[in-house]
């Protein structure tokens, strides 16, 4: 996110200004050396030790608040995870690691902001201010040295490419690492996000030491681990939701592990990486509860995961109506087979565990002069237009408009041009695309997969009817996420037509994608199902390889 636009329109989902402009801050170069040396001489020891104390106290507070929510699998639970799920996790983690190497530093939406948030939290123990607009000097120097402002959104400019530029960058990094400035005055669009992901990232931040780039790489690897968790939970979700054909679990799990968008985002410092993992986990927990009933453990797990999700990123709010519906359905079912009071107690446990951190978060925000619910508060204050206009807008953001409604997207087929094309390939700061023919050809394999999935659903229609409530829960979760992104985009409309129409915001539903792919493989029938599943995985692998080649060509070609 840009320095100058870090605190613009409040929104639940932040993508940064896709078309924001900044100039290379040349004036910074002329003065930073002297300033940095002077600041270093004055390095306030007392301030640093105070900072360390603050950090320790904040981490203690975070750990304490998270302790009852921590979902600590025992060794026996881990042993029950199939080997195939571990391999899916390994593939996803390695893939995100690969992406973290091929993508230049900070050339991913909002990564400078997320880094700044971690820096602030790690060095001061306090949350970043939503009012300031300048990054810490250390980060600014690094961004200028990397030619970030020239490269971002301008595919005609490559990443730095000469030894002279590298030497200059090394000097700048050394100088920047010696700056005595503590924390980061701003964290741009990330400022109002909850702190859990950033708190976790303070660990690699501290461990790495060194320069900004050392810390960034280790922080990216932490995100890559979360990609592994995502793939594992997707596998486990498919196993619970579609238990009949074990081989199909591998198809869904592996395909998701190889999804380039998952690797791209999880190869960066971005809370979406944890959001994807916790979203996949909540789908798994719900599927497990639907299959085995709402035990006390299941209720606590669902509550804890919801709490973790709400502490990770505000986008998780979109999933909560579905989660609450799921808990309600499960409670009604449990009340039929066990004492009503016990069922209600489990519901209360889940809801209590889920929302207690929100109360803590609101208190922390209130005490630090932030809006109580972060960006949610801002979004609620900036609602505009009629509710029908907003619903119409949200509908059209995803689907063709209904007859008789006002056209909010004239000349734009949003389903294809924003969402499908965005999933097929839109990397870097949304400035890296495949040649046009790729987007024309891509609907063929996608359509084939959709047809096979439809066939499998049709053949399983009797089973579907008996699981209608469970499917409704997943549908409400998906619609909740889509509605949230749509509502956030509507705040900027009509000046900006579709501010948050980025495919990555749909990745909390990766578990459903994995299930759809597993179903598609099954849809090819008993004879060809495994071959179809293999081809689906190869398709995702190919998509991933060519996406990484695209990024390499864009930045280093």
């Amino acid at each position: 996110m840009s320095e100058d636009s870090g605190t613009r329109t409040p929104a639940l989902v932040h993508a940064g200004t896709r078309a924001g402009r900044e100039d290379d801050d040349g004036s910074e170069r002329g003065t930073r050396g002297g300033d940095a040396r002077a600041l270093r001489r004055r390095a306030p020891v007392a301030e640093r030790s105070r900072s360390i104390r603050q950090r320790a106290s904040l981490r203690w507070a975070l750990a304490r608040s998270a302790a009852p929510l921590a979902w600590c699998p025992s060794a026996s639970m881990l042993r029950r995870i199939p080997r195939a799920a571990w391999i899916c996790a390994l593939v996803a983690g390695l893939n995100a690691t690969c992406w973290s190497i091929v993508t230049p530093a900070f050339e991913i939406p909002d990564e400078p902001d997320h880094y700044a948030y971690v820096k602030q939290l790690a060095e001061t123990g306090s949350l970043p201010s939503p009012n300031s607009t300048r990054f810490a000097k250390e980060e600014r120097i690094t961004l200028v040295g990397l030619r970030y402002y020239k490269v971002r959104q301008q595919p005609q400019h490559d990443a730095i490419g000469s030894r002279a530029e590298q030497n200059k960058l090394q000097e700048d990094l050394l100088l920047a690492s010696q700056a005595s400035e503590v924390g980061s005055p701003t964290a741009g669009v990330a400022a109002s996000q909850p702190p859990l992901y950033y708190a976790l990232e303070t660990v690699p931040y501290d461990l790495a030491g060194g320069t900004v780039l050392d810390r960034l790489q280790l922080m990216r690897l932490m995100s890559a681990l979360m990609a592994g968790l995502t793939a594992m939970f997707v596998f486990l979700f498919i196993r619970e939701a579609l238990p009949r054909e074990p081989w199909a679990w591998t198809v869904g799990g592996l395909a998701v592990a190889l999804a380039p968008l998952l690797g791209f985002i999880s190869g960066a410092v971005n809370p979406d990486s944890l959001l994807f993992a916790v979203s996949a986990a909540i789908f798994y927990a719900l599927a497990r509860a639907f299959r085995r009933g709402l035990s006390t453990g299941a209720a606590a797990s669902i509550g804890a995961l919801t709490a973790v999700g709400l502490l990770t990123k505000l986008n998780f709010i979109g999933l909560t109506p579905g989660i609450l519906l799921g808990l309600t359905v499960l409670t009604v079912r449990a009340a039929r087979s066990s004492p009503v009071r016990l069922a209600h107690r489990r519901l209360a446990l889940a809801v209590g565990v889920a929302f207690s951190p929100v109360v803590v978060y609101a208190c922390i925000n209130a005490l630090s002069n932030h809006p109580p619910l972060g960006l949610v508060s801002g979004a609620l204050q900036t609602l505009h237009g009629s509710i029908f206009a907003e619903i119409n807008y949200i509908w059209q953001l995803y689907l063709p408009r209904l007859p008789g409604t006002f056209n909010d997207f004239p000349g734009l087929f949003t389903t294809k041009q924003l969402w499908f094309n965005g999933y097929v390939g839109l990397y870097g700061w949304l400035d890296t695309t495949f040649p046009g023919w790729v987007y024309s050809v891509a609907p063929i394999p996608a359509g084939t997969i959709a047809l096979l999935c439809g066939r499998a659903l049709f053949e399983s229609r009797a089973a579907l009817r008996s699981r209608a409530a469970e499917l409704a829960v997943y549908a409400v979760m998906a619609v909740g996420v889509m509605a949230l992104v749509g509502a956030a985009s509507y705040h900027g409309f009509p000046a900006v037509q579709a501010e948050f129409a980025e495919a990555r915001y749909m990745l909390p539903m990766l578990a459903l994608l994995g299930a759809a792919l597993a179903l598609a493989a099954r849809g090819a029938g008993p004879r060809w199902g495994r071959a179809a599943g293999t081809l689906i995985v190869i398709l995702f692998l190919s998509h991933d390889v060519f996406s990484q080649l695209l990024v390499v060509g864009r930045f280093y070609g």
């Binding site: 078309a19 990443a159 924003l418 400035d431 009509p494 390889v545 280093y556």
Partner: protein, 213 residues
């Protein structure tokens, strides 16, 4: 693993290898010419309704197959580019809506030969979404036109055509550049993603062979 699945795996991987090889044997688009590289960019125009902006006195190199315009938008509209010279259309092309960036490349019918003193017109319609034209300040004789109005600068335009070198021949320089601008530097960095991708492909294949049996 069943026989069809095994065949699908081998054929799929072979096809992927062939596709990568073919891609590497092709040349990336390169900038054949630009009408100026501004030291400090200037907002030539801004519109929320749509307009036609024409840049006169352009020289288009032979082989031009895409024209990159300095237009900025969040959700860019459909853009049509028409190049005319001496009263007749030389080439044209369209880029669909939905792009997002600070530049937009519009593919055009490749030019068999260079064209001088051409006028490049970019047309689009928007509905509230703001599109900004970037360029540099210029005297009115060289400036971009919007209808009969002369703006205060020229729109930056780049002319792209397939380069002379293949991706494969550029591999050493790409490897060297990939090793810059990061925590640990060196050309050896390129081996990491290659090794990781190999491990990923091997692990996925082995898992498919085992689980889909």
């Amino acid at each position: 693993m069943t026989q069809p699945a095994r065949i699908a795996l081998v054929a799929g991987l072979a096809l992927l290898a062939v596709a990568v090889g073919l891609t590497l044997s092709r040349s990336p688009m390169s900038i054949a010419r630009t009408n100026g590289t501004p030291l400090r960019e200037y907002r030539v125009a801004e519109t929320a309704q749509g307009a036609t902006y024409c840049q006169p006195h352009e020289l288009l190199p032979s082989g031009t197959s895409a024209i990159r315009l300095s237009l900025s938008a969040f959700t860019g509209p459909r853009v049509r580019v028409v190049v005319s010279s001496g009263g007749s259309t030389v080439t044209s092309g369209t880029r669909g809506s939905g792009w997002t960036s600070r530049v937009v490349a519009v593919p055009v019918k490749p030019l068999p030969r260079a064209v001088s003193n051409a006028t490049v017109c970019a047309s689009f319609r928007t509905h509230h979404e703001t599109v900004t034209v970037f360029g540099m300040r210029a005297p009115s004789a060289l400036a971009t036109r919007q209808g009969r109005r002369t703006l205060q600068g020229t729109m930056t335009i780049e002319y792209l055509r397939p380069g002379t070198r293949s991706w494969a021949s550029m591999a050493p320089s790409i490897a060297r550049r990939l090793g810059l601008g990061r925590a640990s530097t060196g050309t050896w960095i390129v081996l990491l993603p290659l090794a990781l991708l190999a491990v990923i492909a091997a692990a996925a294949s082995k898992l498919l062979l085992k689980e889909l049996s």
